[in-house]
Point group: C2
C-alpha cells in the first residue's frame, strides 16, 4: 500500500451529515469544477447541477426525502441530474440500449464533488434519488425539471459541524484474479 497526501485524501473521505455553514460561492464553484472534471462515455457530459439554498425548498425536500432530513440553512444542496436524451439518441442510432451511461457519468461526477469537498476541509454526503420513482417525481415537480432531466442524487455540502467516521471497507474477498 502506497501512501501520499492525495491517496490519503481519497482514503479518508467520509460522509458528513452535520454542518455549521453553507458553501461560499467560491467553494461551490470549486466543487462544481471538480464534478465537471469526471470522465463521461463518448465525452457527452450529460450532467446538470441544481443548487438549492432557498429555505422553503429545503423544507419541501425534507418532507419527502427520508435520508436528507438534515438539510437546513447551514448547508448547500446540490441535485446532480442527467440529461437522458443524449444517450437515448445514440441508442436509437446504434440499436443497442446504452441509455444508462448517464448514471455512470453523473456518479463519477458526484464522487469528484464529494472528494473536492473533503480536499477543501469541508464535508458532504450523497443521498439517493434515482432509481426511486417516488423521489424522482416529487423532485421533478419541486425543481421544475424538464422530461429529459433525471435527478440522480441530492448532495449536501458545507462546513463541518461534526465529523463523520472513516469506514474501513477493505475486503480482499472482493478481489479476483483472471476469473471470478
Amino acid at each position: 500500500m502506497i501512501h501520499n497526501e492525495k491517496i490519503d485524501m481519497i482514503l479518508s473521505r467520509k460522509s458528513v451529515r452535520r454542518f455549521s455553514a453553507a458553501l461560499s460561492d467560491e467553494e461551490l464553484e470549486t466543487l462544481l469544477h471538480a464534478a465537471m472534471s469526471a470522465p463521461t462515455a463518448m465525452d457527452y457530459q450529460p450532467w446538470h447541477f441544481v443548487v438549492v439554498n432557498d429555505n422553503a425548498t429545503k423544507e419541501n425536500l425534507r418532507s419527502f426525502l427520508p435520508y436528507a432530513k438534515m438539510i437546513n440553512e447551514n448547508c448547500t444542496g446540490i441535485v446532480v441530474c442527467g440529461d437522458i436524451s443524449l444517450y437515448e439518441e445514440v441508442s436509437k442510432r446504434d440499436g443497442e440500449d446504452n441509455t444508462l451511461y448517464w448514471v455512470e457519468d453523473c456518479s463519477a461526477a458526484s464522487e469528484n464533488l464529494l472528494l473536492a469537498a473533503h480536499a477543501l476541509g469541508l464535508g458532504a454526503v450523497w443521498t439517493g434519488i434515482f432509481p426511486l420513482e417516488s423521489r424522482i417525481s416529487k423532485l421533478r415537480e419541486t425543481l421544475a425539471l424538464p422530461e429529459n432531466i433525471v435527478p440522480l442524487n441530492l448532495i449536501l455540502a458545507g462546513h463541518v459541524l461534526s465529523e463523520g467516521r472513516v469506514k474501513d471497507k477493505w475486503d480482499t474477498s472482493k478481489i479476483h484474479y483472471e476469473k471470478f
Copy 2:
C-alpha cells in the same frame, strides 16, 4: 475557484490509453483500496474487482471490446463488477425498485480508482461495458461471472507511455439555481 494540491489532482485527471508497464502488486493494492473507499447506498459495498493480467484473456477482450483494443502486456485490466442480488433483495422488501444503486456505487468506486492512479503518477482509462448486453454476455463468459455479478466497465491502468490531454469541461450553462 480555490486551488490546492488535492483539488488540482482531481482537476488534472485525464484518460491515459498508452502504457509502458503494468501495475506492481503494491500499486494495484493502492488503487483497489481507493476504489473500496467510495460511498455506497446503505453501505452495501456491492463491488467486485476482477484483475486481468493473462495475455490470452487480454487478446480475447480485444476481440469484442472496441474501446479496449489497447489492452496489452504493458497494462493491468480491472473489471469493476456489481453484485446485483443485494439491492434486488431490498427492492423486494421495500416494494420499490432500487436495483440500480449498484451502478452508482461501482461508478463512484471506479472514479476513485482512476483518481488514485493519477495520484500515484500512473495512468488509467474507463472503458464502458454496462448497459451493453452484447459486451456483458461475452465478458460474463470470459471471466466466469456468476448470474448475480454484472460487469460495469473495464479499466486499464499502468505506467504512462503517452500522456492524455486534460479536457476543460467547465460549462456554467450546466449550473442552475433553485430551479432548473
